[in-house]
C-alpha cells in the first residue's frame, strides 16, 4: 500500500469526523471568501472611474450626498443650480462637455431623472461604454425624442414589467405618499441594455419635459422658456484630457473657483467615494473579523477532530509502528490527514464562496443595479488556500507530535 492510500483509508474510516471537519472549514472559508469578494467588488463598483463621470456640478451641500444622488440614485439633491451658472462652467477651457439633469421624481420606487438627450449618445457609463438599446445587447426600443417619452434602465424595466409602449405617471418626490402627476402620462419608448451600474435602476425623461409637468407651478413652467430663471439639480461634466488620457490639471482650479462661489460646487467622485469607504470602514472590519473568527473556529474543530481521531487510533498507529513505520511516518500520516482536510475544506469553501457571490450578487443587483461577478478572483482567493493549509498543518501539529511520541508497547502489547 502506498502512503497516500493509508492516509485516504484513515480518512475514509473516520468519514464522519473527516466530513464534518471539511464542511466546517468549507463554511468558514466560504463566508470569508464571499465577504472579501463582495467587499472588493463593491469597492470596484463604487470607484470604477466615477461611473464615467469626471466631475459633478451640484448645489451647495454635502459632496457625498451629491455623488449618491447623481450617480447612485440615492438620497436627494440638497438644492438647485442656476442654468446660467452651468452654462458659464461649461464654457470653461477645461470642460469638454456636460449633461445636465434634474432629480427628485420617482415611479414605483424607482428614481425618474430628467436628463439631457446627449446622455444616450455621448455619455460613457464606463470608459468607452455607451448606452445601447440594441436587442443584441439586451435593450429594446430607442432613446426618447419627444416631451412625453421615457426610457427605463434594464433592471427597473425587468422589475416593473416595463415594455416600450407602456405608460406611467411620475410621482413628484421620492418618498411614499408624494403627489403623482396625474395629468402627465409619459410613454416608455425604450429599455436600455444592462450596464451593471446604478443606471439600470433608473427611469429617464427628457430634461425639458420636467419644466412642462403639471403641478410644478408657473415659476417652474416659465423655466422652459426663460433660461435666466431655469434651474437644474446638477450636471455630469466631462473634463478635457491632456496626454495619455490624463485629466486636465486645471480641474483643481475650476473646482476651487466654483467652490468659492455661492452658486454651486464641483464634486469629483473619485475624491469623495474613498471617503465613503473610510466612513463605513469599521463595518467592513467587523464583518471581516466575524468571517475570520468563523474560519478560525472551523480550524479549531479540525484540531479537535484530529485529536479525538488520534485517541481512537492509538492502537492502529502503534500497530503501524510495529509493522516498521517510523515515528516520522506516523507523524507524517497525521499531518497529511490534516493537510488533506484543510486543503479540501479550503477548496470547497472557495467554490461555495463563489456560489454565494453568484446568488447574493443577483439579489444585490436587483436592489442596487450594481453587478457582481462569481468569476471575480478576490484577494482571498489567492491567499486563502495556502493560509488555511498552513493553519491546518498547525492545527494538526499537536496531534502529529502526540502520534510521534506514541508508545508502541503501551498501546499494543498484552501483558504476560
Amino acid at each position: 500500500m502506498k502512503f497516500r492510500q493509508i492516509v485516504l483509508k484513515s480518512l475514509c474510516h473516520h468519514w464522519l469526523s473527516t466530513a464534518l471537519a471539511i464542511v466546517s472549514i468549507a463554511l468558514g472559508v466560504a463566508l470569508l471568501d464571499s465577504v472579501v469578494s463582495l467587499r472588493e467588488q463593491t469597492h470596484r463598483n463604487f470607484t470604477q472611474e466615477g461611473l464615467g463621470v469626471d466631475a459633478i456640478l451640484g448645489p451647495k451641500g454635502s459632496p457625498l450626498q451629491i455623488v449618491l444622488n447623481a450617480l447612485y440614485h440615492l438620497e436627494e439633491m440638497p438644492g438647485k443650480v442656476k442654468w446660467t451658472y452651468y452654462k458659464k462652467v461649461l464654457s470653461s477651457e477645461v470642460v469638454e462637455s456636460g449633461i445636465p439633469f434634474i432629480t427628485g421624481h420617482s415611479y414605483a420606487g424607482f428614481r425618474v431623472n430628467a436628463i439631457d438627450e446627449n446622455f444616450f449618445t455621448s455619455f460613457e457609463y464606463l470608459p468607452g461604454q455607451h448606452f445601447s438599446f440594441a436587442p443584441a445587447d439586451g435593450g429594446q426600443g430607442r432613446a426618447f425624442s419627444g416631451n412625453k417619452e421615457a426610457v427605463a434602465g434594464h433592471e427597473a424595466a425587468r422589475l416593473l414589467n416595463i415594455t416600450p409602449g407602456k405608460t406611467f405617471n411620475p410621482t413628484c418626490g421620492v418618498n411614499a405618499g408624494d403627489p403623482v402627476h396625474v395629468n402627465d402620462t409619459i410613454t416608455f419608448v425604450g429599455i436600455m441594455a444592462p450596464t451593471g451600474t446604478p443606471h439600470d435602476r433608473a427611469i429617464y425623461i427628457p430634461l425639458k419635459s420636467f419644466y412642462t409637468l403639471g403641478g410644478h407651478g408657473g415659476e417652474v413652467q416659465e423655466m422652459a422658456q426663460n433660461e435666466e430663471h431655469r434651474e437644474i439639480s446638477g450636471a455630469y461634466l466631462k473634463i478635457k484630457r491632456i496626454r495619455n488620457g490624463v485629466i486636465h490639471p486645471g480641474i483643481q482650479d475650476l473646482k476651487y473657483s466654483i467652490n468659492q462661489s455661492s452658486q454651486a460646487q464641483l464634486v469629483i467622485p473619485n475624491e469623495v467615494l474613498p471617503r465613503l469607504f473610510s466612513i463605513i470602514g469599521w463595518v467592513d472590519l467587523v464583518i471581516m473579523g466575524i468571517a475570520l473568527l468563523v474560519t478560525l473556529l472551523a480550524l479549531l474543530f479540525l484540531f479537535i477532530a484530529l485529536l479525538s481521531a488520534l485517541r481512537e487510533r492509538r492502537r492502529d498507529l502503534a500497530l503501524l509502528r510495529c509493522l516498521g513505520a517510523t515515528r516520522r511516518t506516523v507523524m507524517g500520516l497525521m499531518l497529511c490527514e490534516s493537510l488533506f482536510m484543510s486543503a479540501a475544506g479550503a477548496a470547497l469553501g472557495i467554490a461555495l464562496g463563489h456560489l454565494i457571490v453568484s446568488i447574493g450578487g443577483e439579489f444585490i443587483r436587483a436592489e442596487t443595479g450594481l453587478r457582481f461577478s462569481a468569476a471575480y478572483v478576490s484577494t482571498a482567493d489567492l491567499y486563502i488556500l495556502p493560509v488555511v493549509i498552513l493553519l491546518g498543518l498547525l492545527a494538526g501539529a499537536v496531534p502529529a507530535v502526540q502520534a510521534y511520541r506514541l508508545g508502541v508497547l503501551k498501546n499494543l502489547t498484552p501483558i504476560s
Binding site: H13, L319, L320, R327, P414, I415, S416
Partner: protein, 227 residues
C-alpha cells in the same frame, strides 16, 4: 544464527532501587528454527519478545538479530530493520479495523524497504490460510480465529527472516489454537522463516520440537525476581 543474545539484562528502576526483570546469559535461535517459549503469565516472556523485536531497549547486554546489533542502531533504523526482517503477531488487536483482510495483508509489506506490496501474492497468502474468499471482509466481520489467520498471512507477506508470535492463540479455543499454530508452523516452514512463539499453554508447546522453559532461561526469574 538469526537471534543471538548475550548477557541480556533488563531492570525496572523504582524508588527502592533496580528491579531485575530479565537476566539471560546466552540464548540463540538458528535460521529457520521454530521455537516455543513457555512459562507462566507475567514471567517476562512477552518482554523478551519485545526486546528481540527492537521495541524495548534492555538495560544491558547484546541482542543480535540477523547479524545486526539491534540496539546499536538508532530507533528509526531499528523501525526500518523491523519492517524489513521481522514480523510480530500479537494475541489480539492485530488488524487495522478500517482495512479489509486483503489490505491488512498488503500493509504488512508497506514499511518493508525493498518489499513491494503485491496484490497477487497477498491473495495467494490469504488462500494459503484459507481466507481468499473473505479478502474483502473487514476485521469486524471475521471471527478471532479468522483474524489470526489474516495476521499470519500479513506476517509472511514481506518474506521476513523471523516471526515473533506473542500468545497467538490466547483468544482462541483449544481446537482453533492447534489449527492456528499448525498453520503458522507450516507457513513458516514453506517460507524458510524462523519462528518464536511465546505461550503459557502446554498444549501449544507440545507442537514444537524445541521447547524453552522460560523459568530456566531467565535467571532473574530463577532467582525469584520477574515481572
Amino acid at each position: 544464527m538469526i537471534v543471538k543474545i548475550k548477557e541480556l539484562l533488563l531492570e525496572y528502576r523504582t524508588g527502592a532501587g533496580a528491579f531485575p526483570v530479565l537476566e539471560i546469559p546466552e540464548w540463540t535461535i538458528g535460521a529457520q528454527e521454530q521455537v516455543v517459549i513457555f512459562g507462566p503469565s507475567g514471567s517476562g516472556k512477552s518482554t523478551l519478545l519485545n526486546i528481540v523485536a527492537g521495541l524495548l531497549p534492555p538495560t544491558g547486554g547484546s541482542v543480535e538479530v540477523c547479524g545486526c546489533e539491534l540496539f546499536g542502531m538508532s530507533e528509526s533504523l531499528r523501525d526500518k530493520f523491523r519492517g524489513r526482517n521481522l514480523s510480530y503477531i500479537f494475541q489480539s488487536f492485530n488488524l487495522l479495523q478500517g482495512y479489509t483482510a486483503l489490505e491488512n495483508v498488503l500493509i504488512g509489506a508497506t514499511f518493508s524497504p525493498g518489499a513491494r506490496p503485491d496484490r497477487n501474492q497477498a491473495m495467494l497468502l490469504l488462500e494459503r490460510v484459507g481466507l481468499a474468499h473473505r479478502h474483502h471482509h473487514y476485521p469486524s466481520q471475521m471471527s478471532i480465529g479468522e483474524q489470526q489467520r489474516v495476521t499470519i498471512a500479513r506476517a509472511l507477506v514481506k518474506k521476513p527472516k523471523l516471526i515473533l508470535a506473542d500468545e497467538p492463540t490466547g483468544s482462541l479455543d483449544p481446537h482453533h489454537s492447534g489449527e492456528v499454530v499448525r498453520l503458522l508452523r507450516e507457513a513458516c516452514g514453506e517460507h524458510n522463516c524462523a519462528l518464536v512463539v511465546v505461550s503459557h499453554e502446554t498444549i501449544i508447546a507440545r507442537e514444537f520440537e524445541r521447547q524453552i522453559d522460560f523459568r530456566q532461561l531467565n535467571r532473574a526469574q530463577a532467582d525469584g525476581g520477574g515481572k
